[in-house]
Amino acid sequence: MIALTWTLLIPVAGMLLLALLSSPKVSGWLNLFVSILSFLSSCWLAKKVLKAGSFGGDQFYIDTFNVYLIVLTTFVGMTTAIFSRPYMQHEIEIARLTITRLKLYHASYQAFLFTMLLALSTNNLGVLWVALEGATLATVLLVSLYRTPESIEAAWKYFILCGVGIAQALFGTILLYLAAAKVIPDDGQALLWSVLHGRAAELEPAVMVIAYVFLLVGYGTKVGLVPLHNWLPDAHSEGPTPISAVLSGLLLNVALYAIVRVKMLTDAALMSGTDYNPQLAGHLMMGFGVISFTVAALFLHRQRDIKRLYSYSSIEHMGLMTFAFGIGGPLATFGALLHMMVHSLTKSAIFMTVGHASQIAGTQKMDHIRGLIETQPAVGWGLLIGTLAIAGFPPFGVFTSEFLLLTATMQSWPWLTIPLLLGLALAFAGLFRHLQPMVFGARPELQSAVYVNSLPMMIHLFLVLWLGLSIPSFLANWFDAATQLITGKALL
């Protein structure tokens, strides 16, 4: 419990300190320092959980599933903080930002990490909602940080669409509470996930189905599922790059986590009744997943802005994960958990290189980004390798997880492998037709290298490569324990 307290308190303390500190140089370092501390304390937490099993059960509940995402969140938070320090320094130097706004940026960055960690560690489904709405509030002013008309528009869209979307999830939570109150008389206990999961079979299926649909649509808006995705490319493309990296790598995962938690309750409730198909929750997720996957793969082709390109790629991968969790079953769930990790790592690494690429070219328009390898090999190769990894090339981890997902699909829904393979090929073509001229070719005049710290990007890509070659046994066991928790069956 102490480890958990530290994990949650450190970002709060960091947020308050960074809100007060006005020196831009120090605050970059402090932001990094706080993020490292968060990561260390989350490792401590993970060590305890892996050794002694899940704990909590009152307002907080930690098991192998959410502690995995907590570690991933703090890790990406830390590496993005390494990247963000010189990046934001550069933005100050070219006067795109003022010092006050940098202060806002750093404080909101930690506030955002806090809401993510709260959403993951809370046991109360109501607090989960509050934390996810809090994540929107913490990032909305970051999306409009540059105060250009485009960024204001993106932030407004993000605010209104996510706010309205997630309101549906609150309505779903209220209906869930209605079903729970019948079974669990104590008011304070009736929204606690661990209590609900123990008695999910008694929940009224008719109420749970409607509650689940509202929750899926609500949190699905945050996952970026088509057709609720309109805010996502705008918010990712107009905000500062470190924010695109954490939005894509973390926020979407946490929203998907919320859906999976609710699905576990709905599955158990429907299993006990006879009026509904017990797979209904999974089928809905599969439907949303396939649609998101295919539509996003098609949209990749017509993008002009480099960050929009990769945000559509995020929608595509979130669709794939939603689909996999929808299939259920140990193999698909294991694959989806692995995919969550490799996608987060790869996508945040890509956004980091994309940030540098657009600093080099002075624009995010892909027509003007040319000859990156010649201008600055670290950025060019980073973008090329990152894109290879995200497109699912062996030997990277994305290949492994996609292979597992395809195998799982082949086992349970053979004919669905056709649209999946088609979508993967489409996405590959969509990414590379834009990528090829950007990285190869001659260096345009007036284009010069910028200061780049490629350490975080290299760590991420190295980890993805490692996960593709061999998953360390402790991690495989960890995923397996989480799989057992979600599906009731272990894979290994």
Partner: protein, 226 residues
Amino acid sequence: MNSYTDLPLIEQAILTLSALVLLSSFALLAQSRVIATIKMFAWQGALLSVATVLVASDTGEHHLYFSAAMTLVLKVIFIPWLLIYQSRRLGILRDFDAVIRPGITLLIASALVIFCYSVVEPIQQYAASITRDAIALSLAVVMLSMLMLITRRKAITQVVAFMALENGLFFAAITTTQGMPMVVELGVAFDVLVATVIFGVFFFHIRDSIESLDVDQLNRLSENTK
């Protein structure tokens, strides 16, 4: 199935207030003057907090008195005051935000109410007699606020719609489940408060960037033009 007159007087009052809350949603939808929209929103909040007090005394859930007080302070006094203050500073208090095709909008709204009743129909048998209509009514308030959000063109009226949507959710929590656990209600209220402040900041950003508060002009980001 109880009919309306069989219910105790206090439950009749709650149902009547629920109907009035829905009516206020229709009024919000049809209202085109900015100042009148904000005032109607305050009235909706007032109706809600009275309904909350009645539910509290009917069910004996004492924490609902606190929720009622919170609604009164936040949604009847603070948010309307802030919105009026800001629109005065922005000079848009007396502006009109024309409702697009009011007749059709209201017809769609009525259809939405019927739709909401049919959506929650399977749940109704599991709810206590008083909440049967309230679930559908509160869902209708949510849907009507969403309709208002898409038919409005000014940032300030969109914010009113957003807050009215939150009213619908609060109303659902009060009537169907006698409120949420306190920690959740406090959290939601905190989110609403922060959202209000951020919206306030946004009005000025929007005006500074496009010299208007018509969100129609926020149209640079689309798939075709970029």
